[in-house]
């Protein structure tokens, strides 16, 4: 079997190690450029199932702003990012919301919850008396 070469930029921390990996039959035979153990873990994760935190927004009613920022509370498989976005299409909240409130549980079967990343109060509107 030929040796397959792959290149990764570790994004675990801002240093961003440039890592060269050689694979034989899908197994890592050499790894160069990691400055710490986390780099090695990153590469094996990227080779298996790359995981990412997703951050996006959903509409909110009754608040000062139109959009509420949300995130997955843990990393999810990269290949599911767009599926999660799609499942969020019709999700909407009404103020008030507290930071870390769960908006959707176990989104798209990822095991991750979608949570609010900020609090938003109900905006008091003028009313005729």
């Amino acid at each position: 079997m030929d040796v397959e070469k792959k290149h990764f930029t570790c994004v675990t921390c801002p240093i961003g190690c440039e890592i060269d990996v050689e694979l034989k039959d899908g197994e890592v035979v050499s790894m160069e450029g990691t400055k710490c153990k986390k780099g090695q873990e990153f590469v094996s994760q990227e080779l298996g199932e790359p995981m990412r935190i997703l951050t996006t927004t959903i509409p909110i009613k009754g608040a000062k702003w139109a959009m509420l920022p949300v995130r997955t509370d843990r990393p999810i498989p990269k290949r599911l990012l767009f599926r999660v976005i799609e499942e969020l299409t019709d999700i909407e909240r009404r103020a008030p919301v507290k930071m870390s409130d769960v908006i959707v549980r176990d989104i798209a079967g990822t095991g991750a919850d979608i949570v609010a990343t900020r609090s938003m109060n109900r905006e008091k509107k003028g009313k005729f008396v």
Partner: protein, 412 residues
Amino acid sequence: MKADVTVIGSGPAGLTAALSAHESGAKEVLLLEREEELGGILKQCIHNGFGLEQFKEDYTGPEYAERLIKEIEKTNVRRLLNTMVIDLTPDRAITAVNPEKGIFQIESKSVVLAMGCRERARGSIGIPGTRPAGIYTAGVAQRFVNIDGYLPGKEIVILGSGDIGMIMARRLTLEGAQVKGVYEIMNYPGGLKRNIVQCLNDFDIPLHLSHTVTEIRGKERLEGVVVSRVDEKMQPIGGSEKFIACDTLLLSVGLIPENELSKGAGIELSPITKGPATTETMETAVAGVFSCGNVSTVFDLVDYVAQTGMTAGRNAARYATGDWKKERPSVEVIPGENVRVLFPQRYSFQDDLILFIRSAKPIESPLSIDISPLEMHIKKLYARPNEMIRVKVPRDKLKDITESIEVNITER
């Protein structure tokens, strides 16, 4: 109105400075914010990666802000929202305006400048062509998408590979727009590596180095841009022009400190950082006026912004409470070989010297950061202009300095 410490701006620098001034013993701390909420630009930076160093947590911008705001709310720091500072004098008299008080004066024993920075726009880079709708700075587009819920366009070209531009490339892709490419005039990227990986590579968005936009086309709405390859002097190469159809052009072409108030107060600005020159205490050339965060120099990481905020707040509290002695004149901190940006600009023998350094060019081989006249040589494997290097020089090593401190990057 009177205060011990007045902080202007409530982004990460201002929030941290206000907290730090309070914790350092300043009794009346006043925090002024021109918007209707605290938090500054963090409110629209909904991506994660904030506070990894400071809190050992991977917060989003709003989470990072809310954590600091909750800390502020536990204190008696007085917060004035919708309050715009319109003038600052060299003797620290502040003129501000808000809907409740109209125009009013604040006398403050010390002042912390934390107004942040502005984005460079089309005017600063002079792109020829028509003036259609559809051209935005990356930060304005970020506000539209993340706070107001508007998509600025469907086919996007991004000029400049600053962090906000790359983050918007990902954001707009997730929201269904097609990002056709990021074009960078330099031969190296402008932003952090993690953003190249997670914002561009993850979504197969191409990054074209040594390219720029040389023409804008479209009458009412943008119809497309012409991009050209540039030579080593950053001049467009004739014959390399390529038309790219798009309805939106985002500019991520650099940030500059917000200097209106600083200029009015007669504060000396650094030609290198473009913000107020300060000592390691973050004091500017005007006594009792401190400066921190992106108003001083544009940082890559919020952790660095917060660190300067903490230093500024602590020293502003010392100044206000009379615990401020200058036993000897400060010395200059000078950028030498291979150093493009160096902050702070002076050393006043009061604290450790924490240097923030940007190299003049990418160096991908072992090098040493030499701090003379000290025999201090910090070895690094690389230096890149887009990644600020932080170096701490302990105070006791600096006590015998008499003339100036010079920082050089030497390739080994």
